[in-house]
Structures are given as structure tokens and as C-alpha cells.
């Protein structure tokens, strides 16, 4: 009778010790600590991590899980970063490989440019949130908070190399929508002392005036603090629009033509606000719809609710008719006679 309370006390002490020492507990403490700090205290750490992701040689195995509209999609990839050349990504078990930019979604966006970090800091509060560990490596936590204080993203940054060991994204309801992290990591000691400088980056909006003159109309902002960072026509004739909030990226492709929904294999139609939208179950949350005499295609690495809001904010015009053709003719005639065109 006397030993039982002692045993219970030991068990309770062990449980409390595990809870106090667990990563979740550390994360919670980090959130509280970060909220007490000044704003954007974690921006310096993200800047160092971005520089390390480009300038530090490393190799390892990553897993990536994304929760889309209708489920999760996971993959395991072997990565090998060669400074100056890029990041080699080989997916398992298919074995397809290629060189990608560590700042792109294919590179898990572990190396954002300085401009993107500025956009991130403008739209979110980036705070340092303490220390923890992941994958057997000591890490520093950085929380990215929305204006209402909810968590939008969390980074685990390697204490030794500064690399982003793990990255998580959350939607507006607090649900995890993306997780990517190292299962194992080996830093290249030969390049350990290399001083890495983050790329300055910038926007790709030089063609916007010419696109406006050609009659293109597109929003410069989308719901979810998504800002237009790229707008240009591709040699294939379609228009590319890139939006980002500093954390996620939404790509919009606008192609001329009328959508032939019957030939869309692997896509399912859905009615939204009187419009038909085709979706594909994939990590990029592909979405296609017709608007006027154009076809819009959206791929995104962003929470599903953000993608849906962005899709709703883009044009959804009825099918073209005779007046559209006459208007097109008038526009062409005016462009021919316009001496400044």
C-alpha cells in the first residue's frame, strides 16, 4: 500500500518529464517565447538558412507530405546540393532525377531570395521560437505567424549548418497542409566554411505594360496576401502569372482557346458558383476552368483554402459569342491604326 503511491509518483514524474522534454512541448514553449520577442526576430535565421541552402554542400534523404483537397500525397527523395550548380533531386522508388533550384517548389523552397523574405516579413510576423531537435540534430525554431496570431508556418533550422531541416505549413484553421524534412543529412565538410550570401532576387514584371497594351487583364493581388511577382508570355503562346505571399506560390497559366473538358483525363468536374471547374488530385492541387475564350490552369503549393479563394478571384466569364468576336475585331482594328501601338 505504501509502495503503490511511490510507484505512481515515479510514473507521473516520468510522464511529466517526457511531456516537458518532447518536441511538442518545446514547440509550445517556443511559440510563447517568440510571441514575447520583438517582431521578425526569426528573419535573420531564415536568411542564413537560405544562404546555406545554396552555398553549402550537403546530401540526404527527405520526405514530403502534402494534404490537398481530397487527401495526402507523400514522396521520398534523395537530395544532393552542389553549390553553384543546384540541387539534384532523385525521387524514390521511381528514380527520376533532375537538377532543380532550391528556391523552387521542387527544391522545397528552402532557399528563398532576399526579396521573397522581404515579402514574407511584410505579410507575416517571423519570430524565433527557441531550440529543439529533429532527425537527431539540434535545431532552432522559427514561427511564421499571421496577423491574427495563428501559425502559418514553422521552420526547424540546423544549429550546425543553418539549413532548414524541416518545414511545415498550416492553413487558416490550424491544420497541417505541408510537411517536408530530412530523414538524414550529411553536410559537406569541404565547403563548411564557405560564406553563403542569399540571392537578391526580384520581380519579373517588366512585360506588364506590354501585356496590358495587348489586352491582357489580371489581378496584381489575390486573396491570402498573394502578390504578383511574375507575368510574362512564354514562347508557346500562353501567359504565365506567378503569385506568392512569401511562403507559398500559386502559378496561373492562361492559354487561348475553348476548354475541351471531355478530353481531360484524370480530372473531375465540379460546379462552383455556377461555373464548372476541373480538379486533379495531386500535391499541386491542379485546377482548370474556361473563362471566355481562354483556359485557366492553376498549380499551387499553398493551403487548399488559399488556392480555392485565389481560383474564385480569377476571371470566370461565359463562353464567347458573336459580340466577343466583333469586340476582338474592333480591338485589332484599333491596334492597327494606333500610331503609338
Amino acid at each position: 500500500m505504501i509502495r503503490l503511491p511511490a510507484f505512481l509518483a515515479v510514473v507521473i514524474a516520468m510522464v511529466l518529464g517526457l511531456v516537458a522534454g518532447s518536441p511538442a512541448r518545446a514547440v509550445q514553449q517556443g511559440v510563447q517565447q517568440g510571441e514575447q520577442d520583438n517582431e521578425d526576430t526569426g528573419l535573420r535565421l531564415l536568411r542564413e538558412a537560405a544562404a546555406a541552402a545554396r552555398g553549402r554542400g550537403y546530401a540526404g534523404t527527405q520526405y514530403v507530405t502534402t494534404w490537398g483537397r481530397s487527401g495526402s500525397f507523400s514522396s521520398v527523395v534523395e537530395v544532393h546540393n552542389v553549390p553553384g550548380r543546384g540541387l539534384s533531386v532523385r525521387s524514390r522508388p521511381s528514380g527520376t532525377a533532375g537538377w532543380v533550384d532550391p528556391g523552387a517548389p521542387a527544391g522545397s523552397m528552402t532557399a528563398p531570395s532576399e526579396t521573397m523574405l522581404e515579402v514574407l516579413a511584410r505579410n507575416y510576423r517571423v519570430v524565433e521560437a527557441g531550440r529543439t531537435s529533429t532527425g537527431g540534430r539540434a535545431a532552432r525554431l522559427v514561427n511564421v505567424l499571421r496577423a491574427d496570431g495563428t501559425l502559418a508556418a514553422r521552420y526547424w533550422l540546423d544549429e550546425a549548418g543553418g539549413l532548414a531541416l524541416r518545414r511545415e505549413l498550416f492553413d487558416g484553421h490550424g491544420r497541417t497542409v505541408h510537411v517536408g524534412g530530412f530523414l538524414d543529412l550529411t553536410l559537406d565538410p569541404a565547403r563548411g566554411g564557405a560564406v553563403a550570401v542569399p540571392t537578391p532576387g526580384g520581380v519579373d514584371l517588366g512585360e506588364v505594360p506590354a501585356l496590358m497594351d495587348l489586352g491582357w487583364r489580371f489581378p496584381t493581388e489575390l486573396p491570402g496576401r498573394l502578390e504578383l511577382f511574375a507575368a510574362h508570355t512564354e514562347p508557346a503562346g500562353y501567359l504565365y502569372l506567378g503569385y506568392s505571399d512569401g511562403l507559398s506560390v500559386v502559378s496561373v497559366f492562361v492559354d487561348s482557346g475553348v476548354l475541351d473538358g471531355e478530353k481531360l483525363r484524370g480530372w473531375h468536374a465540379q460546379r462552383r458558383d455556377g461555373h464548372t471547374i476541373w480538379m486533379r488530385n495531386s500535391a499541386e492541387q491542379g485546377t482548370i476552368w474556361a473563362s471566355g475564350d481562354h483556359v485557366y490552369t492553376v498549380f499551387a503549393d499553398a493551403p487548399a483554402d488559399t488556392v480555392d479563394a485565389a481560383v474564385a478571384a480569377l476571371p470566370h466569364e461565359p463562353a464567347p459569342n458573336l459580340w466577343n468576336r466583333l469586340g476582338r475585331g474592333a480591338h485589332r482594328l484599333l491596334s492597327w491604326v494606333n500610331p503609338f501601338g
Binding site: 533550384d101 521573397m116 526580384g202 490552369t297
Partner: protein
């Protein structure tokens, strides 16, 4: 000097020159018969000048006014020998009277002219609008045909897009 004769009228009308007039007046001083004839001629012409002009007949005035009023179109002109009565190989041969002379008769065509002019304006407007719409239709080109977007290419471009990476277009280069 002989009598004035036919020069009496010229003298009364003042149509003689200065020399002839002096000679005629000298003759009148000695010739009572010519003086009487001149007086008679002068009295006659004075009488004629004092007379009123001829009055316009009322029916003639009304007839002229009716010619200017609008009226019903005139019936078609009947030809004494209708064309087509004689043919050669199925083709009509114009006869001597088959070609009517120009119809110069007055007709009530003022309203018809205005109406036809109005119809002309409408026709020109409709034709102009048709030409303009046709031009816009042709210049506008045919509607783009149905198509399926190259989704795999789009997805690949999205995966390799570097947000705020500058103007460089991202590329995907498979390893050998």
C-alpha cells in the same frame, strides 16, 4: 423735201438722229399734211400707252397652280403597239412605236421624291452598318477551337518556378 412717210413713226418714237430730226421738223413747218399725220400718230400711241394690260383668265391661273400641287402618279403610258408582239427566235423585236418618247408631263412626285430619298438614306445606312459589322467579324477571326491545356508542362514549370527569383526563367534539366 418729200413728205415724211414712214419716218413719221420714227420721229414720234424719237428714233431719228439729230440731222434727220432737224430736217423732219423743218419739213413739218411747211407741210400741213405731215404735221397732221404726226399729230395723229402721236395721239394714237399715247392712247395705246394709257390702256391696261390684258387680264389673266382665272381658269388658266388655276390650271397652272394645279400643275405644282402633289397628286397621284400618272397612269402608265399606253403604247399603241405593245412590245413583244413580234418576236424573232423568242426574242422580242422592238417596233416603230415601242420606244416611247420622253414623258415630260407634269406629275405629283414631290412626296414620292421625299419618300424615296428617305428610303435611300436608310438603305445607305444599313449597307454601311453591314459592311462595318462584316469587317469586324472578319478581322476578329474565327473563335479558337476546343483544346486541352498542356497540364504536364504547366505543372513542371510550376515546380521549377523560383518565387521572386528575378527575371530568369527557371529550367528543369534532367540528369544524364
Amino acid at each position: 423735201m418729200s413728205h415724211l412717210g414712214e419716218r413719221v413713226s420714227a420721229l414720234v418714237d424719237g428714233e431719228l438722229n439729230h440731222h434727220e430730226r432737224d430736217r423732219a421738223l423743218s419739213h413739218l413747218a411747211f407741210c400741213a399734211s405731215c404735221r397732221a399725220e404726226v399729230e395723229a400718230m402721236r395721239a394714237l400711241k399715247s392712247r395705246l400707252r394709257s390702256l391696261d394690260g390684258p387680264a389673266m383668265p382665272a381658269d388658266l391661273t388655276m390650271s397652272l397652280l394645279r400643275m405644282a400641287d402633289p397628286g397621284d402618279p400618272l397612269p402608265p403610258r399606253e403604247r399603241p403597239f405593245p412590245s413583244g408582239s413580234r418576236t424573232f427566235g423568242g426574242a422580242p423585236i422592238p417596233g416603230m412605236h415601242s420606244v416611247a418618247p420622253p414623258d415630260n408631263r407634269p406629275r405629283g412626285r414631290a412626296a414620292t421624291t421625299r419618300r424615296s430619298r428617305r428610303v435611300g438614306y436608310v438603305a445607305v445606312g444599313v449597307a454601311s452598318a453591314a459592311v462595318a459589322i462584316g469587317t469586324l467579324f472578319v478581322v476578329g477571326g474565327p473563335d479558337p477551337g476546343p483544346r486541352v491545356p498542356p497540364v504536364d508542362m504547366f505543372a513542371n514549370q510550376h515546380r521549377n518556378t523560383v518565387p521572386y527569383g528575378g527575371t530568369a526563367t527557371p529550367t528543369f534539366s534532367p540528369t544524364p
